[in-house]
């Protein structure tokens, strides 16, 4: 028996561990370090209709147990991703979850329609929660009705299941989750980064050129756990959890909270081999805790 095998809408995963969007590019760099076939899935960098350069630098700033980023959705656009990035990833036996972003509903719909037809894209992740773009992005992620309507429109055109990535920058995360479930979402991914700022001691000005950025890393883990704990009890769709994961122990904690799979973001920068390491460590941890299969851990905190 494969104790890590995980079934989710559209996704037959060898294991529930995948790199988070924006922290793994389109896989090429990590492909030089280890066999990408080891991964459960890959969440690729956000794709928009047009190529984007993103924000000016500095784009990252370190914080206590975390980091701020304001990359600004830099990507080669749907054509570049469809023609160069996804075909390269086809050499691996790994499902791709395509992160879809935009400034208008039409943008999202166009990217979703096209990218969902790629051979190896087995699910979409609607990025309605990027804090680093001036228009779109976060507006879709903070108003329940807007998020629901967008989910519906994307569902109409996508030929693969649609997961919606929730922003933690809201007052009522459960309300948002229910709205996108109503809109037809097949699953949720959460959480995206928390909006933050750091100032330079010498200049008194923000370190990031964009002034604000998204906080990620171990610092946000308790926020993610709390939100997944609350949301998983109120919806009937699965959750891919993320936010500060860097060990097998963290993975189990996310499962206890209510996640059915997890993604690793910032930890890839600290230790580029962290994903295969976690996958390797999980079976032994399951032994220690007395579980046969990792799915037994989901929702234990409230179940």
């Amino acid at each position: 028996m494969n104790r890590l095998e995980t079934q989710l809408p559209g996704l037959n995963l060898k294991n529930p561990v995948m790199p988070a969007s924006g922290c793994f590019g389109f896989g090429r760099e990590f492909g030089g370090l280890y066999n990408l076939n080891d991964l459960g899935a890959i969440m690729i960098k956000a794709t928009t209709v047009e190529p984007r350069f993103g924000n000016p630098t500095p784009r990252v700033a370190e914080t206590a147990a975390g980091m701020l980023n304001a990359i600004g959705l830099q990507n080669p656009g749907i054509d570049g991703v469809m023609n160069n990035e996804l075909p390269w990833l086809e050499q691996f036996d790994v499902p791709i979850i395509a992160n879809v972003a935009g400034s208008t509903e039409e943008d999202y719909v166009e990217v979703a329609k096209r990218i969902s037809t790629a051979a190896n894209v087995q699910a979409l992740e609607l990025n309605i929660s990027c804090p680093n773009v001036k228009t779109g992005g976060i507006a879709f992620g903070t108003i329940p009705e807007v998020a629901k309507s967008l989910t519906k429109k994307v569902k109409e055109v996508s030929v693969v299941p649609v997961y919606v990535k929730l922003s933690p920058n809201v007052t009522n995360i459960v309300e948002m989750a229910k709205a996108v479930e109503d809109g037809g979402a097949d699953g949720l991914t959460m959480i995206n980064t928390l909006l933050g700022m750091r100032l330079d001691l010498k200049t008194a000005k923000p370190i990031l050129a964009n002034k604000t950025g998204g906080l990620s890393g171990p610092a946000i883990k308790p926020v993610a756990i709390r939100m997944i704990h609350d949301v998983s009890q109120q919806v009937n769709i699965p959750i891919i959890g993320m936010g500060g994961i860097e060990s097998a122990e963290d993975v189990i904690e996310f499962f206890y909270a209510g996640a059915s799979a997890i993604a690793v973001g910032t930890a890839n920068f600290v230790d580029p081999f962290v994903c295969p390491k976690i996958i390797k460590d999980l079976p032994e941890l399951l032994d220690q805790l007395g579980f046969d299969h990792i799915s037994e851990c989901t929702g234990r905190s409230w179940n």
Binding site: E29, R52, T57, A61, A65, I71, P272
Partner: protein, 258 residues
């Protein structure tokens, strides 16, 4: 090939005010081929600090499997690194990036190596490799003041060396470009603060062989996070870009917007 290795400290000493020379032992030394490459250093396990620090490779001794980092104790990360003692280990990821093209200067030709402050270290390995292939090297090294000067004698052993300081407390008072104007050479290799690189680029805009090494804040250091991008010079407001960590840190002058 990028390797992650816990390298043991052979020695660490303060060689100028707040400037440390750290010699490490590790098998990844065998992969260090281009002068100007860097390593990504995790100065402490755990979260304080979380991210790695990029530091240039200043010298490589393949025979002993040793390499040298020279850094300024600046913020929290480098302060922790400076407190490490012999026989402790340091978590190193590398070698990373593309270094200076030594093939651009032929044996018998002259290269000038222009460094500012903590941009000086990678020029030492570069100078060694250029001299080995028969290139005449000249060094122009700029520092803040007398207390900040390091490796002057080591550079002198490879070729003529001119030191400038901002306050004139050592060598010539002024900037590296003032000294460069007095010299003749075929190639310029430069590393230092952006203002200095800009001055070098502007002063030698028609010179064909000028190479500059850039600094940018990094996340991953391996090309995956898009933290360290810069615009290309032929498309300064468009979406074409280079990553400092993988396409650089060394670029041909005029290739990217400084």
């Amino acid at each position: 090939m990028i390797v992650n290795e816990h390298c043991s400290i052979v020695s660490q000493r303060e060689i100028a005010e707040n400037i440390y020379e750290l010699i490490l032992h590790g098998e990844l030394t065998s992969k260090m081929n281009e002068p100007g490459q860097f390593v990504h250093v995790k100065v402490a396990s755990g979260y304080a600090p979380l991210l790695r620090r990029p530091l240039s490779i200043a010298h490589v001794n393949k025979e002993n499997q040793e390499f040298t980092l020279i850094y300024r104790k600046d913020g929290r990360g480098t302060a922790i690194l400076s407190s490490k003692k012999t026989s402790e280990t340091v978590d190193i990821l590398g070698p990373l990036g593309h270094g200076f093209p030594i093939e651009e200067t032929k044996a018998g030709e002259t290269a000038v190596l222009v460094g500012g402050g903590i941009g000086v270290p990678p020029l030492y390995e570069l100078s060694k490799q250029l001299v080995k292939k028969g290139v005449n090297v000249k060094h122009v090294l700029g520092f803040q003041n007398h207390a900040a000067v390091f490796y002057e004698d080591k550079f002198k052993s490879f070729g003529s060396t001119y030191v400038t300081t901002v306050d004139g407390s050592h060598g010539t008072k002024g900037f590296v470009t003032d000294v460069m104007n007095e010299l003749s050479f075929d190639t310029i290799y430069s590393c230092g603060p952006t203002a200095m690189l800009k001055a070098v680029e502007a002063g030698y805009a028609t010179h064909k062989k000028v190479y500059v090494s850039l600094e940018e804040r990094m996340g991953c250091g391996i090309g995956a996070c898009f933290a360290c991008v810069c615009h290309t010079a032929d498309d300064p407001f468009g979406f074409s870009y280079k990553k400092v960590c993988t396409d650089g840190p060394v670029f041909k002058a005029g290739e990217v917007v400084l």
